[in-house]
């Protein structure tokens, strides 16, 4: 519990004001233009009632959960742990090269990373040219498999964070416990499951919390790569909220979607905190 507290406090501090404003706006008919632009009226839960009847909304919730589960919880988290684990054993130059390559995607500004991913997956992009060079026919990834493309792009972009967290955590695992286990005849996987993972448990929870919240909010990457298309096939909640609030100028409705996103973030957050507490018994 304790290691998560500072991050939660910081997030609350810097997001509290916008969140409160957004929550308030979701109960009004605030708009970007038109009659309600400057004098929005209180409309109660009308926006939320409309959400329930909007066919695009449940689809966006499902896509958001899939996106977070596939790219953050499984992708970034597992891959980051794997790379960090391998790096503790790798020779120094190898570790340095791998580390730089992974971190490179992370230090790019999001918009640059998004365009790089677009250039990679687009029809005449790098991936298809490489495949073509190898004699294989590619596909139009962004059109045929938009969710796969954005999930892979987000794993590529975000794995560095998990890797850095786990490298620090693994460095703190006392060697002697591992060695003692080795003496007792514990196999590699046994040492991982019974020694290493329990020791870095709090890092895992913190990392899961942070990558989940970051990924829930991913907008630029998806917007640049697919703009939520084709036919809403990659419209996650942030994309839907943006479209409603800024493309259609319906700020009240857009902030209602954003509020749902916040609730979703809370659900994930509470789940992780519970998980951590349960383990400590």
């Amino acid at each position: 519990m304790l290691p998560v507290v500072p991050s939660v406090l910081l997030i609350l501090l810097f997001l509290a004001a916008p969140i409160l404003w957004s929550f308030h706006a979701s109960f009004t008919n605030a708009a970007l233009t038109g009659r309600n632009a400057r004098n929005p009226a209180w409309t109660g839960v009308e926006n939320y009632v409309r959400l329930l009847g909007d066919s695009a909304f449940p689809a966006a919730v499902v896509l958001t959960v899939v996106f977070v589960a596939a790219s953050a919880v499984v992708g970034q988290n597992m891959l980051g742990l794997l790379i960090a684990g391998l790096m503790t054993r790798a020779r120094r130059p190898v570790a340095a090269v791998v580390g730089t390559a992974v971190v490179a995607a992370w230090v790019l500004p999001e918009i640059v990373a998004a365009f790089a991913a677009y250039a990679y997956f687009s029809k005449d992009g790098t991936l298809n040219q490489v495949l073509g060079g190898a004699g294989m026919a590619g596909a139009d990834w962004l059109y045929a498999y938009p969710m796969v493309a954005v999930v892979l792009a987000n794993i590529w972009r975000g794995t560095a964070f998990s890797m850095l967290v786990y490298r620090a955590a693994l460095a703190d695992v006392p060697q002697d416990i591992s060695e003692a286990a080795l003496m007792d005849g514990a196999a590699g996987w046994q040492r991982l499951v019974f020694i290493t993972l329990p020791l870095i448990r709090s890092s895992i929870a913190t990392n899961l919390m942070l990558v989940t919240l970051q990924t829930l909010a991913v907008f630029t990457l998806i917007w640049v790569m697919t703009a939520g298309g084709p036919s809403n096939a990659s419209t996650t909640l942030p994309v839907l909220a943006y479209q409603e609030a800024f493309k259609f100028g319906d700020i009240g409705y857009g902030t209602a979607i954003a509020s749902v996103l916040i609730v979703l973030g809370l659900v994930f957050g509470i789940a992780y905190v519970r998980l951590l507490r349960g383990d400590k018994r």
Binding site: V5, L13, T33, R35, R38, Y143, A227, S231, K247
Partner: protein, 451 residues
């Protein structure tokens, strides 16, 4: 935990304080006035930037103590509109003079963002030189004038003569109805299967391009319409809507247009202008009168041969019924912010930015259709590109979007319908039914009419 939090709060407040005091220090003193000008600028659209830079130089020289603060926003049309609306929401950030899309004028007047210009226009001698359609473009629902147009545009079929001739079609080509378009496109496809014979945009990715340069040319050429101007109601259940979707489906299903995947890429228009038409890989497309601005010297996709290789035809009505052609018009205006602290000075800047000299330069370099009669009569305007006369004549068959506050959502619903049809997700009948339902949900049963 408490100490860092307190420190952060304190830091935050301190920063906010510094920021506010810095802002108030910039408030213009009595004689030092600042005008904030917001407009759009992109890699391929610099004509307006040039206009404002010239106007700034002249205006600052003539009005000592006045600073013109130019704030170009580098974004596409949609994002520019969003950024501008956000700035207009608060009196502190609202610009004094800004570049405003004609189809946003009404809803922004509703929002109270624009200053009524009637009193100023009466005293401005150049105002009587604007043609009537242009004056209407800046009118709000109350009949007052809130914006002064910079130029307008029309839409037409742009075709590559060489590609058509190879398929045995005589040029100049002028289809008289929809079937003749399909017939010509099929001929081109037969002559060279690798061609894109006749492209029309579809789907959400191309945004307003999908409706302005494709769907409305079809719909307004049927016996139906999008919006009943007299009753002020949205039309649902019309045969013309289904026919228009069916036409798009035919184009895409038979491979006469680009592939659906290409159509759903927001950058498809760049390939149309930059690659397919110049390289003879596309027979024809429906595009705006500003098309030559991409190809002429200094344009984004310079192509010296366009004047000889390209031809322009008006888009026909469904069965060739009167008036025989269809076009859509939009265009952009300049407006004064309702919260401007120096409205007189702001209008003065607006009127000088739109002087005959500036208007002519902008109209020519931006391939606009002139809205000032004195500019329209200039030889330099008529000689700007070989197609000025053709596209200017389309003003007689043109339509304007019903730009009410509901319009952006209705337009999006149309785009969704086209996307569903070209990807095969829905049949034209199903897509039209879905559109009808969306419209009813959006505006309410009282504001729709079954036709």
């Amino acid at each position: 935990m408490h100490r860092p939090a307190k420190f952060l709060v304190a830091l935050f407040c301190a920063t906010a304080l510094v920021a506010t005091s810095a802002c108030s220090a910039e408030q213009p003193a009595a004689e030092n006035k600042t005008l904030k000008i917001v407009y759009q600028k992109t890699d391929s659209f610099t004509a307006l930037d040039t206009l404002f830079k010239d106007a700034k130089k002249d205006f600052e020289a003539a009005n000592q103590g006045t600073t013109v603060d130019l704030q170009p926003i580098e974004a596409n049309d949609d994002d520019y509109g969003t950024k501008l609306s956000l700035a207009l929401r608060s009196a502190e950030t609202a610009p004094d003079v800004f570049y405003e899309d004609t189809f946003k004028v009404r809803s922004d007047v509703d929002a109270g963002y624009l200053l009524k210009l009637d009193g100023y226009l009466e005293k401005w001698s150049d105002w009587k030189l604007y043609n009537e359609a242009a004056k209407a473009a800046g009118t709000g629902d109350d009949g007052g004038i809130y914006a002064v147009p910079l130029g307008t545009d029309t839409r037409a079929i742009w075709y590559n003569k060489t590609v058509l001739q190879k398929a045995g079609i005589t040029v100049p080509w002028q289809p008289r109805n929809w079937d003749e378009i399909l017939e010509a496109a099929r001929k081109m496809k037969a002559a060279d299967p690798s061609l894109v014979p006749f492209n029309m945009y579809a789907g959400k990715a191309t945004g307003e391009g999908t409706v302005m340069q494709s769907f409305y040319e079809l719909l307004y050429g049927t016996d139906s319409e999008l919006y009943d101007q007299q009753e002020k109601k949205w039309v649902v259940g019309s045969q013309g809507f289904k026919d228009s979707l069916t036409f798009l489906k035919t184009l895409y299903d038979e491979g006469l247009a680009v592939t659906p995947a290409e159509a759903l890429d927001a950058n498809v228009w760049k390939k149309v202008f930059g690659e397919w038409l110049p390289k003879g890989k596309m027979g024809a497309t429906v595009e705006g009168s500003y098309t030559p601005s991409f190809w002429q010297k200094g344009g984004n996709y310079e192509w010296a041969g366009y004047a000889d290789d390209m031809g322009v035809a008006k888009f026909p009505t469904q069965r060739g019924q009167e008036p025989g052609g269809v076009s859509m018009s939009g265009g952009w205006t300049l407006a004064v912010g309702a919260d401007s602290k120096n409205p007189d000075l702001a209008f003065k800047f607006l009127s000088e930015a739109l002087s005959k000299k500036n208007s002519l330069a902008f109209t020519v370099s931006g391939s606009q259709i002139a809205v000032r009669t004195d500019v329209a009569a200039e030889p330099e305007y008529l000689a700007a590109n070989p197609f000025v006369k053709d596209v200017s004549e389309l003003v007689s068959v043109t339509h304007y979007r019903p730009a009410t506050a509901d319009y952006p959502r209705i337009s999006a619903a149309v785009q969704v319908a086209t996307e569903a049809v070209i990807t095969g997700a829905l049949s034209p009948q199903e897509a039209a039914a879905q559109y009808d339902k969306t419209v009813k949900d959006l505006v309410g049963d009282a504001k729709v009419v079954q036709k």
